[in-house]
Symmetry: C2
Subunit: 195 residues, 2 copies
């Protein structure tokens, strides 16, 4: 195996150790010593791959955000109706969140905690532009309410994080029925209602 590949493996082992530790005890639960132990590596080795702890967390954030965005826009086509497009993206997102539990709850932790640099946050947001473009199209077509993207996001995407959270605590099961109801609620909050 090439050196480059081995490096990539180690880097990703470190990221995944951090992911799991942050999820189980917040950012202060992911000490460099623990990360090193879980990744089967010396603490010093972390600093060969990351500048410091902040850099480690930032890079993890970007990595996870890219995975999320990739999944979200998989199979996304523009030459169908806005609602169909949005539905596709919405279900892609919820599938990702269901299948990649740890990644999803890490992202929602990041959204409400000062653990990520504002600069890194903005960088992560860029990966969501196809969604914003779709909304723009929907607004122009009169399909989607002419309100700010923050509102659209808050009501049609953000709620998923809450539901995920509840499911992770064993309080609520996100089966197909609930998912359908959830999508209906999401759409109901942003559609322009002339349907």
């Amino acid at each position: 195996m090439g050196q480059l590949q081995k490096s990539k493996i180690k880097r990703s082992a470190l990221l995944s150790a951090t992911l799991s530790l942050v999820n189980n005890g917040g950012i202060q639960g992911a000490s460099m010593a623990k990360v090193a132990k879980v990744a089967n590596v010396s603490p010093a080795t972390i600093y060969l791959y990351f500048e410091n702890k902040q850099d480690l967390v930032n890079q993890l954030y970007l990595d996870v955000k890219v995975s999320f965005a990739t999944a979200a826009f998989e199979g996304y086509e523009q030459n169908i109706t806005v609602k169909k497009s949005f539905e596709r993206i919405w279900y892609n997102m919820s599938s990702f969140k269901l299948e990649h539990n740890e990644e999803a709850s890490f992202l929602s932790q990041c959204d409400n905690t000062p653990m990520i640099d504002e600069k890194t946050r903005q960088e992560g947001l860029l990966h969501m532009t196809p969604l914003f473009d779709l909304w723009l199209r929907g607004i122009n077509e009169g399909i989607i309410k002419d309100i700010s993207h923050y509102l659209l996001y808050a009501y049609s995407i953000y709620p998923m994080a809450f539901l995920m959270n509840m499911q992770n605590r064993g309080l609520c099961e996100l089966n197909d029925k609930v998912l359908k109801e959830s999508f209906e609620a999401a759409w109901g909050s942003i559609c322009a209602k002339q349907e």
Copy 2:
């Protein structure tokens, strides 16, 4: 001034110091030494009022949750329509979040981070029962969708936290127009649509 009053003042100074420190740097930013310094108190004194750090944070959570609930149900009457009642509660909540910025973002940090005991969390939830009762009434009357309370909360209440967050980062202004649009989105997501 009586000793009891002085005690209450000191306790609340400690809580408010913790609140502000947690908001500015997460839970690990609120070290006991810093909390003591901000509250103008010796570190040892904290332990006269709280068992340990976890207890301090838990009690802060409950305190803030009670304030929030009190504000939420202020002027709440049952002998008006479900929509009017909900509207009242919704605007109460958003007013609280706007006027008590720190409390609000602390609560949303708590929701997405393992910083609060599950037991304490459940205790905090109890204060929201009037809202759940209202939803039940709305469902029975056919006004509100017959879906789980988690869904109702996720789509009609939870999004406020996101918008607050954006406003705090200076990305979005929650003026009257946006608030109205926000309420419309909230109601659109949960109402049974025969209106």
